[in-house]
């Protein structure tokens, strides 16, 4: 559940995007700039949040009217070990220290649905966080660190599986399926792909983030569509984008089937006029854009 501190959307002055050069960050940047607001998105080479001097450097950069969006994180493909966890926490420590010195108007922390236990099939913002691994623990710990900043209005966003053209990760789902179909002409599922998940297009993530910034929302929001589809359905949708026949291959199941559904009532209440990109349309858009780029 989130609260709009601005009942009506209010023009943004400047947004500082930490991790703004990544897949989601870049999409957010495009949409903020389309609103006419300025964006600062320092590259990690300019501002290494894990470095000891990062807090002071960031504090000097910040202005009181800034909104800060923190997306920077070492994702699981960069490491799932304790060392990665500690680096991620060090990055957040820098951000919190900077915000202690130079409070901003709004702080948006991009967490993850990894804070929820994978055994939970239905999730709302009221579902207690119970991360099953170090990555989820990292995000939840960062959330708590952010909440310790008493002077800064905080919004925590917990996105589900995000897909889009520029995704550099290759996690199981639409992005990997498209690459596999393109490269090998086949999509290989875990088991029969029975597991259901909620997939959101990156443009929707960006649009919701911008809405939250304009309303200066506080609280916690799951960023999900409320519609879960099985990986098999997703694979079929991806396969249909290709002129050549793409084979969807089932394999012997190694792990139990788990499902994940989001009750997005909180999101609907916050933005009842928001329209999500349907999975079929989103996958088609990605495929079209990828073809255009090629």
């Amino acid at each position: 559940m989130i609260i709009h501190q601005n009942a009506l959307p209010k023009q943004l002055e400047r947004v500082v995007l930490l991790g703004g050069r990544g897949f989601i960050g870049a999409a957010i940047r495009r949409q903020i700039e389309a609103q006419g607001a300025s964006v600062i998105a320092p590259a990690s080479a300019e501002l290494n949040l894990a470095a000891s001097a990062a807090a002071d450097k960031l504090a000097r950069l910040l202005q009181p009217s800034d909104a800060v969006v923190m997306l920077a994180a070492l994702t699981p493909d960069r490491g799932r070990d304790i060392a990665t966890l500690m680096k991620n926490l060090a990055m957040m420590q820098s951000v919190c220290a900077a915000l202690e010195k130079s409070a901003c108007a709004h702080f948006v922390y991009f967490s993850s649905d990894a804070v929820y236990n994978t055994a939970l099939s239905r999730v709302t913002e009221d579902t207690p966080a119970s991360p099953p691994d170090l990555y989820g623990t990292m995000h939840y710990t960062r959330e708590i660190m952010a909440r310790s900043l008493v002077k800064v209005p905080l919004l925590v966003l917990r996105p589900t599986i995000v897909y889009g053209l520029d995704d550099t990760h290759n996690s199981y789902g639409p992005n990997r399926f498209r690459r596999a179909a393109q490269k090998d002409g086949k999509i290989t599922l875990f088991g029969g792909g029975e597991e259901t998940r909620d997939h959101i297009h990156v443009d929707d993530v960006a649009a919701l983030t911008v809405r939250c910034l304009l309303h200066r929302c506080i609280g916690t929001l799951n960023v999900a569509t409320g519609v879960s589809k099985s990986f098999h359905e997703v694979a079929e949708v991806v396969a249909r984008q290709f002129k050549n026949n793409v084979e969807v291959i089932k394999t012997p199941r190694a792990n139990p089937i788990t499902h994940r559904h989001y009750d997005v009532t909180g999101l609907i209440k916050a933005f009842p006029d928001f329209r999500f990109v349907a999975l079929e349309d989103g996958v088609a858009r990605v495929h079209r854009d990828a073809a255009g780029r090629a």
Binding site: D126, G226, P272, D273
Partner: protein, 413 residues
């Protein structure tokens, strides 16, 4: 003179007893004395007119000196968490202790937490607690023909005082004396059983909506099972409303926390109730709000249930709070449109006027008059086809024949 107090008084007069209807506020008494009632209940107006010779409305506490039996029935308000504010009943009880005769039997009828009545017991007073099970819209019927009386006593082994025993016996139903705490918890226990039944209905009705079963086909089978019973609460709804059930849920959780007992299932009922309350919003969002530009929504019913003016915890009001970006047209036979928490709300004069040009119709209160609406007329007035009818007020098949896209609880659309 609360809803409970007024209904109890008028029903007692119908049973042939002379009744002093006392309220310290002359502004409440004046309209009552003239026959203008602040609440709407079937039979109530007629019975007031019929028994006016036996009803005395007064704000003079001295009038209580004439009474052998004094029922104390102020509302016990609750906050958003369902916690009771006992300030009003404490004040009224003190006033009655001062004004009533020493030999008068004083009966607490308000909903109070376990331990309350014993805490009020004093040597110079005869004090009882009596469970009330008022149902808005059926209050008079239930006061005239109670299923049983549950009476909380300081010592249940002692016979009830004569005036009290005579009054209860006049209703011809079982009388169950028990200790104060048991009676107070009995009231809560009744409500817990009702909530449990409704929660079962809601949980399985939602499943029906997804797997193609029809909950309305299952209910008769359940009611023929003697362990469940023909009067069981198995109609799915939009969560618990009205305030009293929420109060009891909160009370049980509070006591469980205090004593370390397990109330996990009660908290699950609360969560399920909150979830089901938003059924209409989620369905509207899925079918209309996320699909078309600038939709117009017609809402029939503002009251939290039929035959009442109360909007406390009304699902309709909750829905309207979240439809702010959209134009809405509302109609309720009793509650004025001004009660709707919405800036772009048109108050219609009739059901069909509310439907004019709307993309969707949502029937949020099961007023019986709504059942008389012809789906063909609705279809002619609507711009769209969507009808959300959680309580199945309209006939599903007739709506489909009229070309409407009909959605109700417990049935796949």
């Amino acid at each position: 003179m609360t809803h409970l107090g007024l209904v109890s008084s008028v029903s007692a007069s119908e049973r042939g007893f002379r009744v002093v209807c006392f309220d310290a506020d002359p502004m409440r008494i004046a309209p009552l004395a003239q026959g203008t009632l602040p609440v709407s209940e079937p039979q109530l107006d007629e019975l007031v007119a019929k028994n006016k010779a036996r009803l005395e409305f007064t704000s003079d506490p001295a009038a209580l000196q004439a009474c052998d039996l004094v029922y104390v029935s102020p509302d016990v308000p609750t906050d958003d968490h369902g916690s009771s504010d006992l300030g009003a009943i404490n004040a009224v009880l003190e006033r009655v202790f001062k004004a009533a005769r020493k030999d008068a039997v004083i009966v607490v009828l308000s909903q109070v937490p376990p331990g309350f009545t014993r805490g009020k017991q004093r040597d110079d007073r005869i004090l009882y607690y009596q469970v009330e099970t008022l149902i808005f819209g059926r209050a008079v019927e239930r006061a005239l023909h109670p299923e049983r009386y549950i009476v909380g006593c300081a010592d249940p082994a002692q016979p009830l005082p004569a005036p009290y025993a005579v009054f209860l016996a006049a209703h011809g139903c079982p009388i169950l004396p028990m200790r104060y705490e048991s009676a107070e918890l009995a009231k809560i226990s009744i409500n817990m059983c009702l909530v449990a039944s409704v929660s079962v209905a809601n949980t399985l009705a939602e499943l029906c909506e997804h797997i193609g079963a029809d909950w309305s086909e299952i209910v008769p089978a359940l009611k023929l099972d003697k362990r469940i019973g023909q009067y069981s609460y198995l109609a799915p709804g939009l969560g618990i409303a009205g305030g009293n059930l929420e109060r009891d849920l909160a009370t049980v959780c509070d006591y469980a926390d205090r004593y370390g007992t397990d109330a996990g299932v009660v908290r699950a009922w609360v969560a399920n109730s909150r979830y089901r309350r938003d059924w209409a919003l989620r369905t509207l969002y899925r079918e209309i709000l996320s699909r078309i530009e600038d939709p117009v929504i017609a809402v029939l019913g503002l009251a939290y249930k039929q035959d009442t003016h109360s909007i406390k915890n009304s699902p309709s009001i909750a829905l309207l709070e979240h439809l702010q970006p959209f134009r809405v047209r509302v109609f309720d036979p009793v509650v004025p449109a001004s009660a709707a928490p919405h800036l772009r709300c048109h108050g219609a004069e009739s059901e069909l006027e509310a439907c004019e040009g709307a993309d969707a119709l949502v029937v949020m209160t099961p007023w019986s008059r709504f059942a008389k609406l012809d789906p063909v007329d609705i279809a002619k007035k609507l711009r769209g086809k969507l009808v959300l009818d959680p309580y199945a007020v309209l006939k599903a098949e007739a709506c489909r024949v009229a070309g409407l896209d009909y959605h109700t609880l417990g049935m796949q659309s």
